[in-house]
Amino acid sequence: MNKLAIISAFLGGVKNRYMVYEPERILAKKFELAAKIDGVAGLELCYPADFEDLSLLKSLLADHGLGVSAINVRSRRSGKWWRGSFTSANSRERGEVVDDFKIALDAAAELSVDRISTCPLNEGHDYVFEMDYLKAYDYAEETFSAICTHNPAIRVCIEYKWNDPRTRCFFASAGETLSFCQAVGKPNLGVALDFGHSIQTGERPAQAAAMLARDNRLFYVHLNDNDRNFDWDLMPGAMHFWEFIEFFYYLRILGYTDDWYAYDVMSKEMDTVETFKTVVEVTRKLESLTDRIDRDRMDDLLTDRDPSQTIRYLYRSLL
């Protein structure tokens, strides 16, 4: 069974461009909240925010008995790398992001964490003719290659997303990202599949997972939901119930079963702890519903490809 983690930033301040729902919380407070949520076994830590004092971080992890699912390296920073870092036209900025990743990789090794995840949100463009796409791909290949070479024992995951904060992010879909990873050719470069990002970009998450796993690059999974219009980071299953069932079914077939799920769910107007308690309960419920699907029966149904029979079977067995 996969263990459950929360991305630490989602236990902190909650804001968007219009409103502030929760003020920022200090790291110790984030740990305190996480420890109150039954079923949560760890955090996805954010670099650099959570790493200002490494010994404090270590003692918080030990005191609360929490694990680390991954270290999330934030490449969008207020005041720098505004036009991207991995794909920046400025070689100094590309060097900076590689150097910064090396620090994060070393911190991961020190904490015995074997996974770095990054969502290159600020790579991309708002306007046509803003970015030289050909050069950007070359630059991204160089920087990710250098990052992956620093410590081949740590997996580096690219989390793709359609848009926000750019009107078009550079890595928008599972296909684009997988193709990029294959072009770089490092075995420790792979993909973090965020369920909500996959939905927003128009994918069937189960299909995206299958495609990534066939090339051994389904490295990590984030759970949340949205209405496809935007990345709202809603509670899993609030919108795409059946897509979640299919996704969990495939993760079991693909062997993503002894790993971590990490949540990026925005509690917004709701209480943060109560939100994640619900999220945990809903995840386990969706998993147990998925377990009611008989593998052999589903194999037959998938061979027949007759949705009139499949949907009947699903409604009869699950509800």
Partner: protein, 323 residues
């Protein structure tokens, strides 16, 4: 083609941030107004109530000092400290009264300043999840609150701005059809629309059609110019940078319906300097107006009124714009 006056929304000259990044620090009001006055072709500035009116006399003297007119008083009714669960549609009557009172204060202010126009975008009134709110209660409160605000004084116009989503997955006042419905329910001729072109694209509308629908009721009071990718986000991009043909069509339509209000602007400068982003927006719009004048709008309208003419229209546009 008519000539319209340009205004900028001062909020976009200050702090810019999204959930991820802060792009620009805030500027004091005086700096915002000074910057607005420096932008090519700008005669007006849209200010926010209550934030920009701590000292209304000072605000007025800053405007006078820079030769600017306040194009609209934009009343902010989305402060999460009070309106976490809605403003005009909140279950709590005290919260609704607070939102209505803010609008009424804005109407008084607009009257004192001889502007005659208040704008508001009720973004706190929305929801994320199925089963989150009682739509019947919420809409009842919403209409009641608009009536209470607008009936307070009928000599000032109240322009409602719809937006399909953000910060909630769904906003109550989400598209032109719902807005038209609200106008019918409220039945006060001082309640109308501030049509934000980017919101109209985000709501999957054709803005020229939305303009027409509102103008038919004489309720198109104000405009926010900008553009959007049309795939959900509200990016506040430079007008015409995505929907060039739609922009030509909507400018032609504004001329045809005799719109005589401001061309306000919500442009997110983000990585650009704010004055350059707004100046580019205004130049793009002026250029598009110039192109329409060059084409000869009478001939274009004549062609539009014939069925099955799209091929000829694009030939005509291509010949006159691209040669």
């Amino acid at each position: 083609m008519k000539k319209w006056k340009f205004s900028v929304n001062a909020g976009f000259l200050g702090k810019r941030q999204d959930r991820f990044t802060q792009y620009r620090p805030d500027r004091p009001l005086e700096d915002k107004i000074r910057l607005a006055a420096q932008i090519d072709g700008v005669e007006g500035v849209e200010l926010k109530y209550p934030q920009d009116f701590d000292d209304a006399k000072l605000t007025q003297s800053l405007l006078d000092g820079h030769g600017l007119i306040c194009s609209a008083v934009n009343v902010d009714i989305k402060d999460a400290a009070f309106f976490r669960f809605g403003a005009l549609s909140n279950n709590d009557p005290a919260k609704r009264r607070r939102a209505v009172r803010l609008l009424q204060e804005g109407l008084d202010l607009a009257a004192e300043m001889n502007i005659g126009l208040v704008s508001t975008c009720p973004l706190a009134d929305g929801y994320d999840y199925p089963f989150q709110i009682d739509y019947s209660d919420a809409w009842g409160y919403f209409i009641e609150s608009i009536k209470a605000a607008a009936s307070y004084r009928r000599d000032v116009k109240l322009a409602l701005e719809f937006q399909p989503h953000e910060p909630h997955a769904r906003i109550l006042l989400s598209n032109v059809g719902i807005l038209l419905h609200v106008l019918d329910e409220v039945t006060m001729n001082n309640v109308g629309a501030n049509l934000d072109i980017g919101h109209s694209f985000a709501a999957l509308e054709t803005p020229a059609e939305s303009i027409t629908l509102l103008a038919r009721k004489e309720r198109l009071f104000y405009l926010h110019t900008n553009d959007n990718t049309g795939d959900g986000g509200d990016w506040d991009m430079i007008s015409g940078s995505v929907h060039f043909w739609h922009w030509l069509e909507l400018l032609l339509t504004l001329d045809r319906v005799g719109y005589n209000g401001w061309l306000g602007a919500d442009i997110n400068p983000k990585h650009m300097s704010a004055d350059q982003a707004f100046a580019a927006n205004n130049r793009m719009i002026r250029k598009m107006i110039e192109l329409l004048d060059r084409i000869g709008t009478d001939k274009l309208v004549e062609m539009v009124r014939e069925n099955g003419n799209s091929g000829q229209i694009y030939d005509y546009l291509g010949k006159h714009l691209m040669s």
